[in-house]
């Protein structure tokens, strides 16, 4: 019962994030909304797994927590720099010495 209430709360929060992703004022708002949606989706997967009595779903939650991060970085890098191949950070040898 308590888990079901938690699920409902998370679903409402996810719906709000979708609204922000659709209406977002700039693309950064959309990227933020998707990242936040992803974190809530991880929590929802964990709670659903417990509700249905199948803890095997936790693997999916773990993997999506990682994939969400990668997608956010890729989207941010694309939108800000329009490049996927150039490095975001210089390697320690090339920076001016305060890396």
């Amino acid at each position: 019962m308590l888990l079901l209430a938690g699920t409902v709360g998370l679903l409402v929060a996810m719906a709000m994030m979708i609204a922000r992703a659709i209406m977002g004022a700039s693309h950064y708002d959309r990227i933020l909304a998707v990242n936040s949606f992803g974190t809530k989706a991880v929590l929802l997967l964990a709670v659903i797994g417990f509700m249905f009595g199948r803890p095997a779903f936790l693997d999916i939650a773990i993997v999506y927590a990682l994939i969400n991060f990668i997608t956010t970085i890729a989207l941010m890098k694309f939108f800000r720099y329009r490049a996927l191949g150039l490095p975001l950070c210089a390697s320690p040898g090339e920076e001016g010495g305060d890396g």
Partner: protein, 358 residues
Amino acid sequence: MITLPASINASLVLDIVLLVMLLVVAGAIVRTRSLLAAIILFGVYSMISAIWLVVMDAPDVAFTEAVVGAGISTIVLLGAILLTRGETEKSDWRKLIAPALICAAVGGVLIYAAMGLPDLGDASSPANAHVGRAYLEGTAKDIGVPNMVTAVLASYRGLDTLGETAVIFAAGIGVALMLGFGPRSSLASPPSNLGDRHVTLRVAAKLLIPLIALFALYVQFHGDLGAGGGFQAGVIMAAAITLHALVFGLRETMAAIPSRVARSVASLGVLIYAGVGVVCMINGGGFLDYDYLFPPAVEAQIPGWILGDGSHAPHWGQHAGILLIEIGVLLTVTATMVTVFYGFAGRTVDDARREAKR
């Protein structure tokens, strides 16, 4: 009462809410004109689909949908629209009447057909009564692997999976032929890094990349027991390599995993898979019949304590065969995804260099 005994109401509520969200996101994807917004919403769509698949009790499929749809697919689509314009053209609504009518007609026919399908989980439907039941009853006897999806995928229908692996390999070759194997100009000149100093990102990426790779190996080897397997593990490993390329630059990643190595590893995976089949044939069985993987003399030498409790026949051939072909699938999927990423990202590096020279 904390945990519900899988009551119908919870799944129904979840199903309806998730499907409504899917509908809203799909409508937004169609209506938006900016392609970047469409790609972002595609990621959201894939994730909602993955959650819905979890609610329907299909964790293997949900796994694949989550990693492929919301992860690699988004990154490859980004690479694709870097090579094109960022917006779609506005289309006249009059041109859309005929396609809309066709879609409505086809959709109506599909909905009518779907009403005649058996109920979900009906034990007497043809899908569940004949072949499905044979697999359910035969897995423990013939193969001895707890995860039945892996048993069907890797052993009962191993030939189909070999075809799928070959198709993935062919797709990688196709992309590489069209887009090239990486940046054309040599990478000897130092790359221009992009300005802002992302120190926390660099540190966090250094921590995360090996953890993601380790988790990919866990998914690979745990696929016999829980949700997972070769395809999912391959995509997760490719995601780790992609993260490295995103944060540290394509040059560093290609120094670690050259394009040559990626191509060779992809073909090695298919070779391992087909090789297992041929070894089974040499030992007297059919193609990919794992019971004949080890000759009987070798099989008698394997000590009983390695696997299982000895209360049932150990099926060494099945276990070893499934392990080997899953490794083949992992190698091919990882290397193909890396090749595709190199193709797209290499093109953008070339474009950036050309812009800088201008």
